[in-house]
């Protein structure tokens, strides 16, 4: 065995620890740390695990509500959905690994988020993925898209969770850093949720699942740094996933939990054994003693340093009720998974790690997370963008619509989601490609709706409004399916927080998200922060991905996106014709200018509640939210879903056609009502104080915008073939 390297400030710097942070360690323990201890500190104190730059701001988010059973701080958030059931969900990024090794990076991102959900006792019922890539013509983009999609599919399909939605976007801002944000939700009984806090002294600490190898050593530290030249050399820090083991781990863990043997349980995610052991001890106010000789190992001669920092996948740590050891072991034998007692809880505040009889680490446990550095980083607000003074004219809205629908940011994502099993479980009522996915709660008539949204170009121009808009759009997508929005998870993707301009984007987005979550009653119950998404000093667009869950008390309340021929079309919400920072301006004129549309949260809430009320009153055939691309794109998407053309009236007096058809004013929906219900729907809107006007009809075989026709067949061709054309396959 090779000698351990001498611990110096330079070695600490290689571990991503600053000189001040290293000094802090020396002060805390009163001696030079061992190599293993240095590794443990670097794992606990890196940005990814400690949230040291973001904590101060995350605390400002609304996290409570009568529906919230458990907010942020556990593996995932827990929300009451009635009848003793709870939904458990979270979104988490796997950006850095996916850029380095797209297939395994994305696959293990899915694996990690699924573990976060089932470690709390839930059976996963739905997954989504929000993906951001560089320009389609960038030499790396296609390889990344193909690899990430294949990786997500390979993991989720084998595991057996329906992958029902998400987003895919392309922008030059992601040329050097792709984003892979994975969401998972599961169902458990509200009185059978499992938490990570250890309890009881002398209780066995049990290692479950797959064996430990050298893969992923230092992964969390890698994810806490910018990329420069040589990022490819970091490939060995990316973990390798095995969904077959994860599937067995799920079944074994759920059986184990049902047996009553589990005191507490925590998955091994970032910084594996280190983070999970410290978390369980810290939350329970206990110390932990680990004997690494007992850790199931895949490779020989592993050092304590490697075992403590390995990010090998599909592993869990559990505190076991000692009287149940035989039953617990039998369950893991049945599923052919490792089960090893690797330590015990101790009364002292101590994290004691031994290998071959030698003490490799002996640290104060509570201080490892409790004294992690926390920074109030300097930040500067994003300067306001001036209004566009020379807005281009739209000569032919139908031609613009056709061009827009074929663009990589607008075309159908079927190329992606046909590679994901979105019907396994036989509860998917509405899969990918609509406003929000709808999945039945197994064995009930209830269903949950899922959506994930953010408009980074808005966030870039105005982080506060952009943050609000991300939540508002999620609210709107859920409302358009008839679901009542319940709660939210946030995945904050930003550049280097040590730059005040980037930190300002983060602070602004948090402010906007907080305001919107409060006003729309969708508290944040879980989340994840990914910083340092930069390459050679170029940061990504600020991308606070918002994913939310809504409840349908009865699946029959779900509102389709497809209307019926002859239905009257109603535009709900105020239209001012806001083209600044619009998709139309960016996609068709190459200009990213102007302020984003302001978000009126009261109007947003009123419009969403009205949509649900109209459905309850039996007045709606279909609904679709308006977002990127405005009225024209919403009408085309509804027409394509309905298999029927749509005639839409021209711009009202005083408004330019471009502004009317492509403006992105918020809080708007396109509704389809049977002709005999239209008057009643308009009356109801007037009573609710929500602007509404009749603007057209589902009819014919073209989408006709103010007299200009775009044939449905041509729209379908542009829309359905766009992604394959881009991928060149």
């Amino acid at each position: 065995m090779s000698a351990e390297p001498a611990v110096t400030q330079a070695l600490a710097a290689d571990h991503g620890l600053t000189a001040e942070e290293y000094q802090r360690i020396l002060d805390l323990i009163g001696r030079t740390p061992s190599w293993t201890e240095l590794g443990i500190f670097s794992a606990m104190w890196n940005e990814h695990c400690s949230y040291k730059s973001s904590k101060k701001w995350l605390r400002t988010l609304p996290t409570e509500g009568p529906q919230v059973i458990c907010g942020p701080g556990e593996n995932a958030g827990v929300v009451d959905i009635g009848d003793g059931d709870a939904v458990i969900f979270k979104m988490e990024s796997h950006n850095h690994p996916s850029y380095i090794e797209p297939h395994q990076g994305a696959a293990t991102g899915v694996g990690g988020i699924l573990r976060d959900v089932f470690t709390m006792g839930a059976r996963p019922m739905a997954a989504m993925n929000a993906l951001s890539f560089g320009r389609p013509e960038h030499p790396k983009t296609k390889r990344l898209v193909a690899g990430v999609v294949e990786g997500i599919g390979s993991y989720g399909n084998c595991f057996g969770v329906p992958n029902v939605g998400g987003e895919v976007r392309f922008h030059a801002g992601y040329d050097g850093n792709c984003l892979v944000n994975a969401f998972a939700a599961g169902i458990a009984k509200a009185d059978a949720i499992f938490y990570s806090a250890a309890s009881g002294v002398g209780m066995p600490v049990v290692y479950l699942g797959a064996k430990t190898g050298r893969d992923g050593v230092g992964g969390a530290t890698m994810a806490s740094a910018e990329f420069g030249e040589g990022a490819e050399e970091k490939r060995p820090t990316v973990q390798v996933g095995d969904p077959f083991t994860e599937k067995r781990l799920l079944e074994a863990c759920l059986e184990l939990m049902a047996s009553g043997a589990v005191i507490s349980i925590q998955d091994m995610g970032a910084a594996g054994l280190t983070c999970s052991a410290v978390e369980m001890g810290d939350k329970g106010g206990l110390g932990i003693e680990l004997d690494l000789d007992a850790v199931p190992q895949r490779e020989t001669h592993m050092t304590a340093y490697e075992m403590m920092l390995s990010e090998s996948q599909e592993r869990m740590l559990m505190v076991l009720k000692p009287s149940m050891e035989a039953e617990a072991r039998a369950i893991f034998d049945k599923w052919d998974l490792d089960f090893a007692i690797v330590g015990k809880t101790i009364a002292e505040d101590r994290f004691l790690v031994k290998l071959a009889g030698e003490v490799k680490a002996d640290l104060p446990l509570a201080a490892l997370s409790g004294t992690a550095p926390e920074y109030d980083r300097p930040w500067e607000p994003t300067p306001a963008s001036p209004k566009v003074a020379d807005m281009p004219a739209c000569a032919d809205p139908a031609a613009d619509l056709l061009a827009l629908l074929g663009r990589p940011n607008f075309c159908s994502r079927a190329w992606v989601w046909e590679q994901y099993d979105h019907t396994v479980g036989a509860d998917t009522a509405r899969g990918p490609g609509s406003d929000a996915a709808v999945v039945r709660v197994h064995g009930t008539k209830k269903a949950l709706a899922f959506s994930s949204d953010v408009t980074p170009r808005y966030c870039f121009a105005d982080p506060v409004e952009g943050g609000k808009q991300a939540v508002a759009e999620c609210f709107r997508n859920l409302s358009a399916t008839g679901a009542r929005p319940l709660a939210t998870t946030d995945n904050m993707n930003f550049g280097n927080p040590e730059k005040p301009r980037i930190m300002g984007q983060f602070v602004g987005c948090i402010q906007g998200i907080g305001e919107a979550c409060k006003a729309l009653d969708m508290p944040i119950v879980s989340g994840n922060v990914s910083l340092y998404n930069e390459t050679d000093g170029q940061a990504i667009q600020p991308t606070p991905t918002i994913a939310a869950v809504g409840l349908l008390e009865d699946l029959s309340q779900a509102i389709p996106m497809a209307g019926r021929r002859g239905d009257v079309l109603i535009l709900l919400g105020e239209t001012s014709g806001w083209l600044d920072r619009s998709a139309w301006l960016y996609e068709l004129h190459g200009r990213e200018e102007g302020p984003p549309p302001p978000v009126d949260l009261a109007a947003e809430r009123a419009a969403g509640e009205l949509v649900r009320a109209l459905k309850a009153a039996g007045l709606l055939s279909a609904a679709h939210d308006l977002s990127d691309g405005g009225l024209a794109v919403a009408a085309a998407e509804m027409a394509l879903a309905s298999g029927c053309g749509a005639t839409i009236a021209g711009a009202p007096k005083g408004m330019a056609p471009g502004a009317w058809f492509f403006g992105e004013d918020q809080a708007r929906y396109l509704l389809a009502c049977p002709a005999q219900s239209a008057m009643a729907a308009l009356d109801a809107a007037a009573k609710a104080g929500v602007p509404a006007r009749q603007i057209g009809t589902l009819e014919g075989d073209a989408v006709i915008l103010g007299g200009r026709p775009a044939p449905l067949a041509a729209l379908r061709e542009a829309h359905s073939g766009g992604f394959a054309r881009m991928m060149g396959a």
Binding site: C158, D336, Y420, A426
Partner: protein, 224 residues
């Protein structure tokens, strides 16, 4: 009818199959772990569900085909028992030799999940009697290795004996030879198919075109 669903490590459509058999065929269903060496007594149907048994390691279905329970399933089939294999279940049936042919990687090398139109080729089987030959049923597929292949003699035999149960009505999305989506054994009591009928039995699924398969079974096995 009494049914059993075999559960392999990595099976992930076992619950869906159980629900469909219970809901549509009103069958009591037992879940049987792959390490068992015997089937429950008095069974009329054994279902091999979809999923990724043993993680698709080696070859899809190859390791499951050697599971202890498969000897019992094979004996059951040879004694005239009814066996339904869907997706990974079909792969396992070809691996054990209970059905001829094999399932290769999809032609475009990608996993494919979407509803497909199936043409029902025969109503002369306990799995398809509720249809008329020529009916079209839309049922989802979800697989990476669904390209059915068999040598020319086997194909001629299958087609000559009316043992092709389903074909893809609009061309095979996965490269299957002769667009074959499902085949029957010589005694017509073993069916393997790539599409998932259990995912199309409830209006919530967006269609119930898979339900006739379970109704056919319920009719055929009612007296048994």
């Amino acid at each position: 009818m009494r049914a059993a669903v075999i559960v392999f490590p990595g099976s992930n459509c076992d619950r869906d199959m159980q629900v469909a058999l219970q809901a549509v065929a009103s069958a009591p269903v037992e879940m049987v772990w792959h390490k068992e060496t015997a089937l429950p007594r008095g069974l009329d149907l054994v279902a091999l569900p979809g999923g990724f048994s043993f993680g698709d390691h080696l070859r899809c279905g190859a390791i499951a085909g050697k599971s202890p329970i498969m000897r019992a399933v094979s004996d059951f089939a040879h004694a005239g028992g009814h066996v339904l294999g869907v997706c990974n279940g079909f792969q396992i049936l070809t691996e054990t030799g209970l059905l001829p042919g094999a399932l290769l990687r999809n032609g475009n090398l990608k996993f494919l999940c979407k509803p497909v139109a199936l043409s029902v080729k025969t109503s002369a089987s306990p799995f398809t009697s509720a249809w008329n030959a020529g009916d079209v049923a839309t049922i989802p597929i979800a697989h990476h290795d669904g390209a059915y292949v068999a040598d020319p003699d086997t194909l001629a035999e299958l087609e000559g004996e009316d043992r092709v149960a389903f074909t893809y009505a609009q061309g095979a999305p996965n490269g299957a030879v002769h667009d074959i989506a499902g085949v029957l054994s010589a005694n017509r009591r073993v069916l393997g198919m790539m599409p998932h009928p259990e995912r199309a039995v409830d209006p919530a699924h967006g269609g119930t075109d898979g339900a006739p398969l379970f109704r056919s079974l319920a009719d055929a096995l009612v007296s048994a």
